[in-house]
Each structure stands twice: as structure tokens, then as C-alpha cells.
Amino acid sequence: MPSDTEHAITVHLDDLLAERRMTLTELADRIGITVVNLSVLKNGRARAIRFSTLSALCQVLECQPGDLLRFEQ
């Protein structure tokens, strides 16, 4: 069983932002969380993501959770 800090989930926020020509600041404004927190998620330093944050991201980016998160061995 992996420890609390180890996981194999990668966040593909960069790709989605580039495809939609959107900045991190703009996304942060639209979903209502701070740029710092969004950077933590983008850079893979987050340990957990709230369903409310995930829902807001999917709504604004018009995508599915699977487009944002991937499991990579």
C-alpha cells in the first residue's frame, strides 16, 4: 500500500489551459479559488482535490475529470 504522500495521479491542467487559450489567473477567477492553490494543483503538489473544485474546473474547462486527471504507473 502506498504511503499518504505517494500517488500516481498526474494533473493535465497545463494542456487543457493551452487548448482553451486560458491563463491560470483567469481560470482561478472563474472557479473562485486562489492562483496559489491552483498552482499547487497544476504543479502536482496537491495531495487531494475537493469534488467542488473538480466540478468547477470541469464546468469552466468544459471537460470530464478524466481529461484533467490521469493514473500513470
Binding site: N37, V40, A46, R47, I49, R50, T53
Partner: protein, 202 residues
């Protein structure tokens, strides 16, 4: 006044109390120890040892008055060698320093609560140190002091039959206090993990 400011006031009061008590203890040790050394080295009756004697040696008790087998007694000591003075006061000095160290840890801990950041690895270490000192240091001190008292009693005390220095190695209060501190340390350690999780949740 809301609960937060009330709590903050009580933590500040506690911090001030611990700080004042710490510095009074430093002063007490700084004055009391040299005074004790001078007193025992120069006095005709340098010290008394707390021991127990058989109750029957106290003489006949009034009708219907019962006494336990052994009763506490304060035995006057008339002669102390230099080695005994040095050993006794070294033990007192070491115990005093250990007490001051423990109290300083407690002061730092209360200080971190006052600063609003109690869930730190430093505080986990402090609580473990305090718990460990109470769990191991207290009985060790009791054992050492009992040994010293026995030594002083047999060489410098009056020739009393069946006099004995009793050792109270396992104080239930100290044991319970130590366990509380060690459990609290683990609660703090878990609290740190939970806080880190919350901080890394987006």
C-alpha cells in the same frame, strides 16, 4: 468578548505564569543550592533524613489507638563527609537542572500555542521529552535520592534499629501524567499530518 479573545487571554496568562514560575525556579536554584551547600558544610546539625521506623519504637500508644507497622520519621544527621555533601548536592543540582529544562520546554510549548501554531514537530518532541522525563526521570531521581539518604543515614545518623528509607518508585500520579503527555504527543503528531493534508487540498 468572544471565545477566541477569551481563550487568547487565558493562554497569555498561562504563558506569563509559566514564565514567571520558570524564572523564580531559576532564582530559587541559584540561591538555594549554594545556601544549602554552605549550610550543610558549616552547621552542627547539617540535615535531616526522611525515613520510616517501626511504630512500636515510638512507645506505647493510648488504648484503642492503632498505628501502621512503620511510620514516617525525620532523622537528624550530625555528621556528613565531604563526599556525601558533594554527592547530595550534585544530585539536587542535576534534578533542579532537569526540572528547569522540563519547565523551559513547557514554556516554549505554551508560547507556540500563544503564537497560534501549536501543531509543530518541535512540540511533538517537547511533549515526548516531558513524558519521558516524568516516566523515567522521576523514578530514577527517587531511586538515587533514596540510595544517597540510606548512605548518609547509615554513616552519619543515630544508631537506630530498623530504620529504613522507603522508595516510592512508581507514583501513580507521575505515571498517569507521563502517559497523558505521551498520548498527547501522538495526538499532536497526527494533528500535524491532518493539517498538512488540509493545506495540500485544493
Amino acid at each position: 468578548m468572544n471565545n477566541t479573545s477569551g481563550s487568547r487571554l487565558s493562554v497569555t496568562s498561562l504563558y506569563l505564569f509559566v514564565t514567571v514560575f520558570f524564572w523564580l525556579s531559576v532564582l530559587g536554584l541559584a540561591i538555594g543550592l549554594p545556601a544549602g551547600i554552605i549550610g550543610t558544610a558549616t552547621s552542627d546539625h547539617p540535615m535531616s533524613i526522611h525515613a520510616t521506623v517501626p511504630a512500636k519504637t515510638l512507645g506505647d500508644l493510648p488504648w484503642r489507638v492503632d498505628a501502621p507497622d512503620r511510620v514516617a520519621a525525620s532523622i537528624p544527621i550530625d555528621h556528613l563527609s565531604t563526599a556525601q555533601i558533594v554527592a547530595f548536592h550534585s544530585a539536587i543540582a542535576l534534578a533542579g537542572l532537569a526540572f528547569l529544562f522540563a519547565f523551559w520546554q513547557l514554556r516554549q510549548l505554551v508560547g507556540s500555542v500563544r503564537a497560534g501554531d501549536p501543531f509543530s514537530t518541535d512540540n511533538v518532541r517537547r511533549l515526548r521529552i516531558l513524558g519521558g522525563m516524568l516516566l523515567i526521570g522521576f523514578p530514577v531521581f527517587q531511586y538515587v535520592m533514596a540510595g544517597l539518604n540510606e548512605w548518609i543515614l547509615t554513616t552519619g545518623g543515630p544508631d537506630l534499629p530498623s530504620v529504613r528509607v522507603d522508595i516510592d518508585l512508581f507514583s501513580i500520579t507521575a505515571l498517569f501524567g507521563a502517559l497523558c503527555l505521551l498520548v498527547l504527543a501522538e495526538v499532536f503528531a497526527r494533528g500535524i499530518t491532518l493539517r498538512e493534508d488540509v493545506e495540500a487540498t485544493v
